[in-house]
Amino acid sequence: MTKPIDSNPDPKSPVLRLDRLEVRYPSRTAESDAVVVDGLGCEIARGQAVGVLGESGSGKTSLALAVTGLLPSEARCSMELEILGRPVPAAADERFWRRLRGDTIGMVFQQPSLALHPMRRVGLQVADVLLSHRPWSARSCRRKVMELLDELDLESDIFQAFPHQLSGGQRQRIVLAQALACEPSLLVADEPTTALDRKTEIQVLELVRRLSRERQMALLWISHDPGVLAEITDRIYVMYAGRWMEEGPTESLLAEPNHPYTKLLLDCLPRRKALRSEPLDRRRLTVIPGMAPPASELPSGCRFVDRCPVVTESCGEKPSPVPMGQGRTWCVRAGSTRLGSGP
């Protein structure tokens, strides 16, 4: 068995360092594999919250599954991954990953209803996580669960409840309690709040942010919703068709995006001007014309080329990252011309 990563590492090394991540799935129709994540890298420091913004099918979940060792068996994945300064071997087996997930990485995924067993009391389900990863007695596990429930602003009598007796927000907190039980250094979250209403969602996000500060826990938070990432992250990576388009500090990226795709995407947010007073035939939201390329027909250069309003000849080549402010933009025109947000 490979030696798992211990929990007492060099405090200066980032919690996660990822490079050259590639994820492919065998294609049912075409000869070659579908490349859904193509050469991504990022770094997350202690206590830092990094967001990944991307649309459906852009490869966000594949990214989250890759760094938690949970990709389905048919997926082919290569990457250079370091957790707390220690490389994860390419040949890491399931045992290695399970240990890593229990001790160092916590996860919350898209559908909370699927994560909980319907017939087991939720407090016990949180305790189960501790029992399988800590050499503690049932009693101390239980005490720890009570502490966690309190930390997550849940009443202690929730311990005895079954999942169906809880609201969506409460269920999501239970799933969080499971993920946080072993005090991970990194929490990977794949759209866990999408099913919640906005108010509950913001409560959960604020809670996680507070815990991440208190515990110096790093966050990798994946979402299609810029509003969510604005609440919780320090830095955002924008993903499109398996590649980064742009990354930078949350505030500047959302306020002044540099990449044409980010600009157009943020223009779709229903907030720019009050359309309500427009007559019906002129009342339309901004959209990005066209669709993302299917994984089988990816353009060789910039992935956004078919939909980009400011495309030029050199877009046929793969863009290299251009430093912009405190971030980077993967666009051949970045920094050269002022990019309009539309034609």
Partner: protein
């Protein structure tokens, strides 16, 4: 849009209340007052948004306005008349005139059905009673929701989220309803898809002269799309918002 028939109420609720009993150990036999003497009118041809947090009674109200659930008390009206809940046949006829579309299209259609089967379902149910000689214009219907006719033989489970949502909209149009009720139809979607579907609905409202009730917790979206928003809280309407010039109206 003002004056004349535009101001007639297509749908209305007069002082309706609805209470659910929530069982279970935690809550005992707690009563949930989902609707608490709610009154409102949906005017012909308008887009009315109902906004409010979860638990404010939005979905219960939607089911009442779609004649799927009868409130404990109060009256639901269609075209100015109280609906006859006891008259099962009449209610069946009314139900095709108001269509409710939910958030999760994957749950609304059977994954094994082909697109064509999904669309035939309401068509068959409706034609038996209404106008048997009328054939459905598939191409026209698919074009209206911007779906490629190639999807007709495809099974629902192989459609993308966007295609599925369009299919569910198309199915709602098969019975040629007067009103569409959209319950969080745009929630949880990518921004670009959300905007495309919202524009699609705006276009349908315009071209078909539909009345539309938009149920959402996203008040920014309501601000953009709807002529008027009603804010719900704890089973009541607590606020109404509209464009500053909406009362003067009269834009072309």
């Amino acid at each position: 849009m003002s004056g004349g028939p535009a101001d007639r109420a297509v749908l209305s609720a007069a002082n309706i209340s609805m209470r659910y009993r929530r069982g279970g150990k935690l809550s005992g036999s707690e009563q949930i007052q989902a609707l608490d003497g709610m009154s409102l009118e949906v005017r012909s041809g308008e887009i009315l948004a109902l906004v409010g947090p979860s638990g404010s009674g939005k979905s219960t109200l939607a089911r009442c306005l779609a004649f799927l659930e009868r409130p404990d008390s109060g009256e639901v009206g269609f075209q100015g008349e109280a609906v006859p809940w006891e008259d099962v046949l009449a209610m069946r006829g009314l139900r095709r005139r108001v269509q409710l579309v939910f958030q999760d299209p994957a749950r609304a259609v059977s994954p094994r059905f082909t697109t064509e089967q999904v669309l035939r379902e309401p068509q068959q149910a409706w034609q038996q009673r209404a106008s048997p000689q009328r054939a459905l214009d598939w191409a026209q219907l698919l074009a209206e929701v911007e779906l490629d006719p190639k999807v007709l033989p495809m099974r629902a489970r192989s459609l993308s989220g966007g295609q599925l949502q369009r299919l569910v909209l198309a199915r709602a149009l098969v019975t040629e309803p007067d009103a569409l009720l959209l319950d969080e139809t745009f929630s949880g979607l990518d921004l670009s898809l959300q905007a495309k579907l919202a524009n699609l609905v705006l276009g349908l409202v315009e071209s078909r002269g539909l009345t539309c009730v938009l149920i959402t917790h996203n008040s920014a979206l309501a601000e953009q799309l709807a002529d008027r928003s009603l804010v719900l809280s704890q089973g009541r309407v607590v606020d109404e918002r509209s464009a500053p010039d909406a009362s003067t109206g009269g834009t072309s």
